[in-house]
């Protein structure tokens, strides 16, 4: 390849690893930047090296053990052929350069081509008590188990909706934790209605059925179609209250709650890289635009995996390969066809998974009217402690019809998380109050840093100078 090309991949999950593998096969040596200490992403997360406990792949990843091992092995083989930078946060992107933070040092990483495989986090739909100690996201609960070998509590309720709800409950129960209940806000009827689409991936569908069956066989209480009312507790979780499908009030004692409502793509880096966004009704959020190959609207920026739209780990592997092929084509490298995956086939498989995903999103849609029922005193933005009531008052006075204006006036999304956790809630509340569709109340713009960064490492760079000519800007 021409030395003029500098390809950077952000993310070493299934999408990033397969993209790197495809690039290496074409003779490209990419830089792979990953926030985690070890490769695998969230779904195939590895326990930290020297963690002091050992669990087999089968224990850690269940049905996905083979896939996890395949992805891990692929990356292990790539290591000599890539510039791998683990434990590194890409916190800004401007003018074909990423700013990264690793081990307390700042490094600027220039690129000519960028593949963003930034993954996803749990979607949060708040309910009273969600900020109590002992409430974790489903992903967080899973990380505790996978990376730390511990459970989030001794009597755990899993609440929310989505396939992860049952998977994490299963993993907890299997690991010996006491799962008090699984409370799914989606009704069984909706899941049954979506079954034909989900059967486009029969093995995935079968796994979902298996987890539910296993939990039931082991006496774990499962309720569907519930409305979550509140998590009780003073400082820490003491119990949870909900209403059944028929509206009957229920409660249960517990000391931890794992909560999640599907996944939400991490799109900030794509935003900073200048990608154009569109509202995606299926994911119920704004996504960076991309073509079937993964090219974004920004020149030489490619998107793959859940960070560009939730499609799961299998799709992430395919999309990572596909985006890398597009990149290889765009920089004009001619490869032996047999040595590389077939682009058409990859796109066909991705399309098939998309049908399955549409089924999943329909079966496990987050509760649509939740925002309407949030009590005024409930915190929506925990960084800045903004309540639903504060936001409502602002919206009802006519001051904010758009989410960035709501942010300006109430501070929602201005804190440490920069709206990554609460941004969707703000949009939902704005839509509920104004009667507008989610797509019509604006999109929170991302600003660097993507995650808070310490100031000290910023002070080392000697290649920068003060610009004293700006005397007036205060």
């Amino acid at each position: 390849m021409s030395g003029a090309h500098r390809v950077v991949i952000v993310g070493a999950g299934p999408a990033g690893i397969r993209a790197a593998e495809t690039l290496v096969a074409a003779g490209v040596r990419p830089v792979v930047i990953d926030e985690n200490a070890r490769w695998g992403g969230q779904i195939y997360r590895q326990p930290p090296a020297g963690a002091g406990f050992k669990r087999s792949a089968a224990t850690l990843y269940g049905f996905e053990a083979k896939k996890a091992e395949a992805v891990h092995d692929a990356m292990a083989k790539l290591l000599p052929k890539i510039d791998y930078r683990p434990d590194t946060l890409a916190w800004a992107c401007e003018q074909n350069r990423l700013d990264t933070l690793h081990a307390g040092r700042e490094t600027s990483v220039p690129f000519t081509h960028l593949i963003i495989a930034s993954g996803a986090t749990d979607r949060i739909v708040p309910l009273p008590g969600w900020t109590l100690a002992g409430v974790f996201t489903l992903g967080g609960a899973q990380v505790a188990l996978k990376a730390q070998g511990c459970a989030i509590g001794s009597r755990v309720v899993f609440a929310g909706t989505g396939p992860l709800l049952y998977l994490v409950a299963y993993q907890y129960a299997k690991a010996g934790a006491r799962v008090a209940a699984v409370l799914d806000t989606s009704p069984l009827a909706r899941q049954a209605a979506a079954a034909p689409r989900m059967l486009s991936q029969p093995s995935m569908f079968a796994k979902g059925v298996y987890y539910v069956g296993w939990l039931q066989a082991h006496g774990v209480r499962i309720e569907r179609g519930v409305t979550l009312d509140r998590i009780d507790g003073d400082d820490a979780v003491r119990g949870i209250r909900w209403r059944t499908r028929r509206g009957e009030p229920r409660s249960l004692d517990c000391d931890a709650v794992g909560m999640g409502f599907g996944l939400r793509p991490e799109t900030q880096l794509a935003d900073l890289a200048g990608c154009r966004f569109r509202f995606d009704p299926l994911n119920r959020c704004w996504l960076p635009e991309r073509d079937a190959a993964g090219r974004s609207s920004a020149r030489n920026v490619y998107l793959a995996g859940d960070g560009a739209g939730i499609a799961g780990a299998d799709a992430a592997e395919l999309a990572g390969r596909r985006a890398a092929l597009a990149l290889i084509e765009d920089i004009g490298i001619v490869t032996h066809r047999s040595a590389q995956p077939d682009a058409t086939k990859l796109e066909r498989e991705l399309a098939r998974i998309a049908v399955f995903r549409a089924g999943i999103e329909h079966a496990f849609a987050p509760p649509v009217n939740a925002a309407q029922h949030w009590p005024d005193d409930m915190t929506v933005c925990r960084c800045e402690d903004v309540t639903a009531g504060t936001m409502r008052a602002c919206i009802r006075s006519g001051l904010a019809t758009e989410v960035n204006r709501l942010k300006s006036l109430t501070r929602i999304g201005m804190g440490r998380c920069q709206g990554r956790m609460c941004g969707e809630s703000a949009i939902a509340l704005l839509a509920a109050e104004t009667g507008k569709p989610l797509a019509d109340v604006g999109r929170l713009r991302s600003q660097a840093p993507i995650k808070p960064i310490p100031i000290t490492p910023m002070l080392y760079d000697d290649g920068v100078h003060v610009q004293p000519e700006e005397a007036h800007d205060e």
């Binding site: 204006r405 804190g415 840093p449 808070p452 100031i455 920068v464 610009q467 205060e474």
Partner: protein
């Protein structure tokens, strides 16, 4: 609101641009009974007026800006009464720091000059200064405190003026583009969105985009877009007692009640339409900021931002009547220092419309001052 006027297409005054200048002008005019339309292409107070540092600072202003600055400062003392909110206005005092001996002379000279305009400031240095400000790093060797200065929250103040203007009866239209602007010899004719409207007066307060309006009347001012670079830390224990600046400019800092430190200096990037902060600038300013405020070293940076502002060659704004068109008023090009001045400019423009003159000297800000220099339109 103002449904009763929905069918009316003629206004006494149309204001192009819903930043703090346009909004405060709209408020002042609406309160004096004029029929006013405030037309904003995006959202009121969402551009430079809403994303700037928030300095309510007279200290360091040039002699020609001081009368206007003093007048504007008085407006900031009446925010609750004027716009119904305090806008997080804090009379913290402004401390202008000296980092070398020569800076102290600059501070002394300014102090003497400002006193003639009724603005008090005290220059300090040496052990007394060090003792009074243990939270300042050794890079600061002295400073001048102007106790009547302060800071406010532009995100609240600027939209607040637009909202107050609407309550006072102004027809405030957001997400509405002005186009086809002409003067027919009697009235201004234009299109607001799809609707045709006309007016007796036109106020050009379109900020970095004001040359587009001026250009409709064969006029332009040498102005280039600038992108001030800003950042904010997580909340820290309160330690920055004043709003801070330095002699020569380039860095400024304040701490809000919640504890976040808002710091600015240098430039981001932009294309004239949108702005993006620059990490290289942020880094450079951080080093300077930490030399002045060592406690920042342990903080977390949570957000950076920028905005689009217009800068003139002499750093002074353009305020006053057009040279080509009667009843066309310009007010733009505040060069990064407009947050304090804007509400004063609103009063001045309202006086010019209603009384034909203003008690505040603004001759230095005439668009005519650039006539000897070659005009270049760079919006």
């Amino acid at each position: 609101m103002n449904d009763t006027r929905a069918g009316v297409s003629h206004f006494d005054v149309v204001i192009a641009g819903g930043g703090l200048v346009g909004s405060s002008t709209a408020l002042a005019l609406a309160k004096s009974g004029m029929r006013v339309a405030l037309i904003e292409r995006r959202f009121c107070g969402a551009q430079a007026s809403g994303v700037n540092y928030g300095g309510v600072r007279t200290q360091g202003r040039t002699a020609e800006q001081l009368p206007l600055a003093v007048r504007a400062r008085r407006v900031y003392g009446r925010l609750p009464e004027l716009i119904g909110i305090d806008g997080e206005m804090v009379v913290s005092g402004h401390l202008r720091l000296a980092r070398r001996e020569a800076d102290l002379d600059v501070l002394d000279r300014w102090s003497a000059m400002a006193r003639e305009h009724g603005v008090e400031s005290h220059v300090m240095s040496g052990p007394a200064f060090r003792q009074r400000y243990p939270w300042l790093g050794p890079a600061a060797i002295g400073g001048s405190l102007c106790p009547s200065d302060g800071h406010a929250n532009p995100r609240l103040v600027s939209p607040g003026f637009a909202h107050a203007a609407r309550r006072a009866g102004a027809d405030v239209r957001e997400q509405t583009e002005l186009s086809d602007i002409t003067f027919d010899g009697t009235r201004f004719q234009m299109r607001a969105g799809r609707e045709r409207i006309s007016s007796d007066w036109l106020v050009n307060s379109a900020g970095a985009w004001a040359n587009r309006i001026a250009g409709s009347f064969g006029e332009s001012a040498p102005m280039k877009p600038i992108y001030p670079n800003m950042w904010v830390t997580e909340p820290l224990p309160l330690f920055i007692g004043h709003s801070l600046g330095v002699v020569g400019g380039g860095i400024y800092a304040r701490q809000v009640e919640r504890g976040n430190c808002v710091i600015g200096g240098g430039r981001g990037h932009g294309d004239g339409e949108y702005a993006q902060p620059s990490t290289a600038t942020t880094r450079a300013v951080m080093r300077d900021a930490c030399a002045l405020l060592p406690a920042l070293r342990d903080a977390l940076l949570i957000r950076t931002w920028s905005g689009v502002e217009g800068e003139t060659p002499d750093g002074n704004p353009i305020i006053g009547l057009s040279r080509t068109t009667p009843r066309l008023l310009h007010a733009f090009g505040f060069s990064g220092g407009g947050f304090l001045l804007a509400p004063g400019v609103g009063e001045v423009l309202a006086e010019l419309v209603t009384q034909g003159e203003t008690s505040t000297p603004i001759d230095a800000f005439s668009i005519g001052r650039f006539s000897s220099t070659p005009l270049s339109v760079t919006h």
